[in-house]
């Protein structure tokens, strides 16, 4: 049973998990009526995208792209994973945090004005 699991490459697991997270996040954003839940859906989708990006940068049997005693400079290119997707994901995490912060502060404002966070009850604000 566990033998069968170890046959699956680790990056495929991360890739599939990331894609499932994206789908769950999208589902949450499309179906939920509560603003905080929509934001949670957004965050899930965000995390899924990060996982997919990191998985695509993985190189078989690779290690962290840090040159030290364990990863000598001469063999570095054959031992490490791709540093570029990692750097991109770091940027993406920070941007995701910024967007989440803005969304949450909008939620606070909406709650202060309407005393509810269910979007069905906010329709009168259109007028």
């Amino acid at each position: 049973m566990l033998n069968f699991l170890s046959q699956i490459p680790i990056s495929s697991i991360a890739l599939i998990a990331g894609l499932i997270l994206i789908l769950i996040g999208l589902w949450g954003m499309l179906t939920q009526r509560h603003i905080i839940r929509i934001i949670v859906g957004f965050s899930l989708m965000d995390t899924g995208i990060h996982l997919v990006m990191v998985a695509l940068g993985y190189v078989k049997d690779g290690t962290a792209p840090i040159i030290n005693d364990a990863v000598p400079l001469e063999q570095a290119a054959s031992m490490i994973v791709d540093p570029v997707p990692s750097a991109l994901v770091l940027t993406a995490i920070v941007i995701g945090l910024a967007v989440t912060g803005i969304m949450l502060s909008f939620a606070v404002r909406i709650h202060a004005a309407k005393k509810t966070l269910i979007i069905d009850e906010l329709t009168d604000s259109k007028g």
């Binding site: 490459p9 990056s11 495929s12 890739l15 599939i16 894609l19 994206i22 789908l23 999208l26 589902w27 499309l30 179906t31 993985y58 190189v59 078989k60 962290a64 792209p65 840090i66 040159i67 030290n68 400079l73 570095a76 290119a77 054959s78 490490i80 994973v81 791709d82 540093p83 570029v84 990692s86 750097a87 770091l90 940027t91 995490i93 920070v94 941007i95 945090l97 910024a98 967007v99 912060g101 803005i102 949450l104 502060s105 909008f106 606070v108 404002r109 202060a112």
Partner: protein
Amino acid sequence: MIKRVFVFMMLALMAAMFFKLVANYQERDELSKLGTYYAEQAPAELGAANLVTSVIVTYRGLDTLGEVTVLFLAAAGVGLLLKPDNNANNGTVKPIHRPASEIVTTATELLLPMVILLGVYVFINGHLSPGGGFQGGAIIASGTMFLMLALPETHISRVMISFIESLSGFSYVIVGTLGVVLAGGFLDNRILPLGDYGTLFSAGAIPLIYVFVGLKVGFELSAILDRFRKQD
């Protein structure tokens, strides 16, 4: 009902799109050309042991400056949106803070200095070990969160926060501009000697830039947390 069908269709289309990606996915056996270039050239060129740091701070340094700008705009946006209303509830409804339990208070007193120290360690060693300015800043902000949980009435000086934040952001741009004058281009880290490879004082201006980024991110996130806390 019709909406549910649409949602289901959209998810199914997304899943079909992803299926293609998963089905054709094969684990890579070797680095991409760009990754190989960074692995072979970056340590000699920039002197940083952590390749991700080399990419973030120097090769794609302009992106990082943009990222810091986005974070700054987000902090400013949160500050603007959560600015206390002057006309609404003028002192009639005071938020009631339940005092924190003794466990939380004692743990905070014990751990807060260590959390801050860890944050500083993480951003100063960003060129040698996993971590860097953003991670260190986030750890410092978690220290602030700790403080707010244990002592909900703590007053955090907005003036001090914005002063340190602006100062470090300004210094970051100055260091970047010095790269144009003294070295190969904007945000070039070779304005300082590269030093002994693998030691704390190496990799030129990378530790310096990460100290500024770390301080800026740490205080910015603390300001955001403070904004969410204060509704009076």
